[in-house]
């Protein structure tokens, strides 16, 4: 085995071990993420908004009757209102 290979193996081993165990020497830390629950509510809101947009598109291009469009749109609006209310109450709690 040549010297360069030996040096590379040494660096690889020491580097890997040092990199992996470094967090153990930190003081107590916690997960920095924004709450998954709030993220989930925001995502739900965006999905429903997108569904409303697609519904409008379907209605405009004639894929939906007016009755179906209005019925579904109102249902989606009610759903999104509930989600927005939950987001607000979550923000108030924080």
């Amino acid at each position: 085995m040549d010297l360069v290979s030996l040096l590379l193996i040494f660096l690889m081993f020491v580097g890997s071990v040092g990199f992996v165990i470094q967090p153990l020497f930190k003081r107590s830390v916690s997960f920095p993420a924004e709450s998954d629950e709030l993220e989930l509510l925001k995502l739900k809101k965006r999905i429903i908004y997108r569904q409303i947009k697609e519904l409008e598109m379907d209605y405009e291009i004639g894929n939906l009757s007016q009755d179906d469009y209005l019925l579904t749109r109102n249902e989606l609006k009610r759903e999104v209102a509930k989600v927005i209310e939950k987001i607000k109450s979550y923000s108030r709690k924080k």
Partner: protein
């Protein structure tokens, strides 16, 4: 230097075990420092796999024949591109390449979701590292690419790469296929993590939807490139032969296609949760199974499969994936079951569900046809070959049903389609298809060709109608000109219209498939100056030339192609080559036919230089007239473009 690669593989194996243990310990203690340690350890496992791959690439480019793998798959004459592509030419290298791609994907996952999916991430990393561990075990103990050359003499030159693999398309085909195969590990890891943690919210679905689409795109490109390579290189005039290697990539593509349709229903309606889990798991299991089929030697013989522990280990791994996943699904069934039901049979949800069933039926037929020869050889000792007639007989009618559903889907509304809506949306496509049916019937088409052409018209009109209505709606509402309306409509609804463009690509491909029914073929010999007719074309051998090149010797035929009236069309130059022609052992010299194809929208003229009798100055040819093949490749381009439109991030990505 190879020793650095070997040590990296050994360290990677050790670190992958360590990663799983640390993350398991974190799940017990909830000490976030342990999570960070586990995360870094997973990064280390991945970086070590990449280091090992880079070392092997270095050895291949340097032609270090002290490494057995390098001596087996390259020679001094091998061009550098093919020295590089030799990385995935053999078993050991391709498994390392699998591991390397998974390592890159794992690093991306760690960076993308370092602050998200708090519950899921430890399990995702455990699953991904477990898959890496499996490949580390294979590479370290069964098929190590850094194994030294076993010869007791100095190897002056290597065997060289198989001439069939010395093709640019073939250099690109395996990496794209592997990017697809391996990519499904990520949705699988998310699914397993979600099952374990009882996570049913749509957050993780959002994360894997894009992953699935990206990996599906890679798999699609890989399959198309494979077909292209077969067409340009193998010389039998086709692009798809239902070969087990082709089927190995087609099966996960089918389940993945079903998944990227049904995942939309889960995202929008929170339905089909169990079904989607099944599809993700099946797709990943089929990806591993595909690697097993192509890399275990089982296709050539059950006995060669049994000689090495590699095949049994792959089978055990696939069984483990299926057993653990099924147990998890059963365990979480009460959580997964959706309370929502399909509201109507005539809804887009129903259409998607129906197309899912069709995809699975095709997948099962392909699976059965692929493994039947293996089972027959294992049980009865004789291999019963299942050829294209079986696959075509079963899959053509189901494929046509799928084509029909491709047209029906966009015409159905979400939730329910009213009777008036149904009549309004279906009238024009049905009328157009009926007109098409009459025209095609009078043109003399019958059977599957007639049905296919009629359905192609139906789907094409259905898709174009969607575009037309969308453009009109925007013009009415915003007063835009048609080009502006089209551009903005697609930009604002990328997922939807990207999907329609993909469907358009599929329709074009079907046009190409139909062309196969009219293929013509003729084999003949010519001396310089002589000519022969094939169909409406005349082939005159103008000249026979010889050339010695870097890694082969070539006889080149100059064929003049003209129509029946003598009008010049093109010159074709197919070649007969002999690779390793300087090898003193005649058995090591490899003959190879390099084709020449004149491609066109209507038909391809496909020429193969099958043989030569030098002393008689006679060349042997196989000429094929292949109508509409060009449409298959056009369909491929359109499909890729559509998928890119769907994937293109909007300013506010959902």
């Amino acid at each position: 230097m190879p020793v650095v690669g070997s040590v990296a593989l050994s360290l990677g194996l050790g670190f992958s075990i360590l990663t799983i243990l640390i993350l398991a310990f974190y799940l017990r203690t909830n000490d976030y420092r342990l999570y960070l340690t586990g995360q870094r350890s997973a990064l280390g496992v991945s970086v070590l796999a990449i280091i090992a791959t880079l070392v092997l690439i270095n050895e291949l480019l340097r032609s270090n024949f002290n490494v057995d793998y390098v001596a087996h798959y390259t020679s001094l004459e091998t061009p550098w591109l093919y020295k590089f592509s030799a990385l995935w030419a053999g078993q050991a290298g391709s498994l390392l390449f699998w591991l390397c791609i998974l390592a890159v994907y794992t690093i991306i996952v760690i960076f993308l979701y370092r602050n998200r999916h708090r519950q899921l991430m430890p399990w995702i990393l455990i699953v991904l590292t477990s898959v890496q561990l499996f490949f580390y075990i294979l590479i370290n103990f069964i098929t190590n690419p850094f194994e030294p050359t076993s010869a007791n003499f100095v190897v002056a030159n290597g065997n060289g790469l198989n001439p069939l693999l010395q093709n640019v398309t073939m250099a690109l085909h395996p990496p794209t296929l592997y990017l697809g195969f391996v990519g499904f590990s990520i949705p699988f890891a998310f699914a397993i993590a979600a099952l374990i943690t009882k996570e049913t919210n749509p957050l993780w679905i959002r994360s894997i939807r894009r992953w699935s689409l990206v990996t599906w795109l890679f798999l699609s490109i890989g399959i198309i490139l494979g077909g292209w390579w077969a067409y340009q290189e193998l010389g039998w005039g086709g692009y798809w032969a239902w070969d087990p290697v082709e089927n190995a990539s087609f099966m996960p593509w089918l389940t993945a296609t079903a998944f990227i349709h049904s995942i939309m229903i889960q995202e929008k309606k929170n339905m089909l949760r169990v079904w989607n889990m099944v599809l993700i798991i099946l797709t990943f299991a089929l990806s591993v199974f595909g690697t097993f089929l192509t890399r275990s030697g089982v296709l050539s013989s059950v006995h060669s499969f049994a000689e090495s522990p590699l095949g049994p280990m792959f089978i055990d791994f696939v069984i483990l994936i299926l057993v653990v996943s099924t147990a998890l699904i059963i365990w979480r069934l009460p959580v997964l079951k959706s309370r929502k039901r399909l509201e109507s049979f005539t809804s887009r949800e129903s259409g998607f569900l129906f197309n899912n069933v069709v995809f699975i039926v095709i997948c099962f037929a392909v699976f059965w046809g692929t493994i039947f020869p293996i089972i027959s050889e294992a049980v009865r000792g004789t291999k019963i070959t299942v050829g294209p007639p079986f696959f075509n007989q079963v899959n053509v009618p189901i494929g046509l049903l799928l084509l029909f559903l491709t047209g029906v889907g966009p015409l159905l509304a979400w939730r329910r389609t009213s009777k008036q809506g149904f009549i309004k949306n279906f009238t024009i496509p049905i009328v157009a298809a009926l007109i098409g049916l009459i025209i095609f019937f009078y043109l003399g088409f019958t059977g599957y060709v007639l049905v296919s052409m009629t359905l192609i018209v139906f789907v094409l009109v259905a898709i174009l109608l969607e575009f037309y209505r969308g453009i009109n709606a925007r013009r009415r509402r915003f007063g835009e000109n048609p080009a502006q309306a089209l551009w903005r409509m697609i930009r604002k609804n990328r997922s939807r219209y990207g999907g329609y463009i993909v469907h358009l690509g599929i329709v074009f491909m079907f046009v190409g498939f139909v062309g196969a029914a009219f293929n013509q073929e003729k084999e003949f010999s010519l001396k310089p100056g002589e000519s022969e007719h094939v169909g409406e074309y005349n082939f005159q051998l103008k000249n026979l030339r010889e050339e010695e090149r870097l890694n082969h010797y070539a006889w080149i035929a100059d064929l003049r192609v003209s129509d029946t009236h003598g009008k010049f069309i093109t010159n074709l130059h197919p070649e007969k080559r002999v690779y390793f022609f300087r090898n003193p052992d005649p058995d090591r010299r490899q003959p190879h036919s390099e084709l020449d194809i004149y491609e066109g929208i209507i038909r391809d003229i496909y020429s193969v230089f099958t043989g030569i009798e030098v002393e008689k100055n006679t060349a042997y040819f196989k000429i094929m007239i292949n109508p509409l093949v060009w449409w298959v490749w056009l369909g491929g381009y359109v499909l890729v473009f559509g998928a890119l439109v769907s994937l293109w991030p909007s300013r506010r990505t959902i």
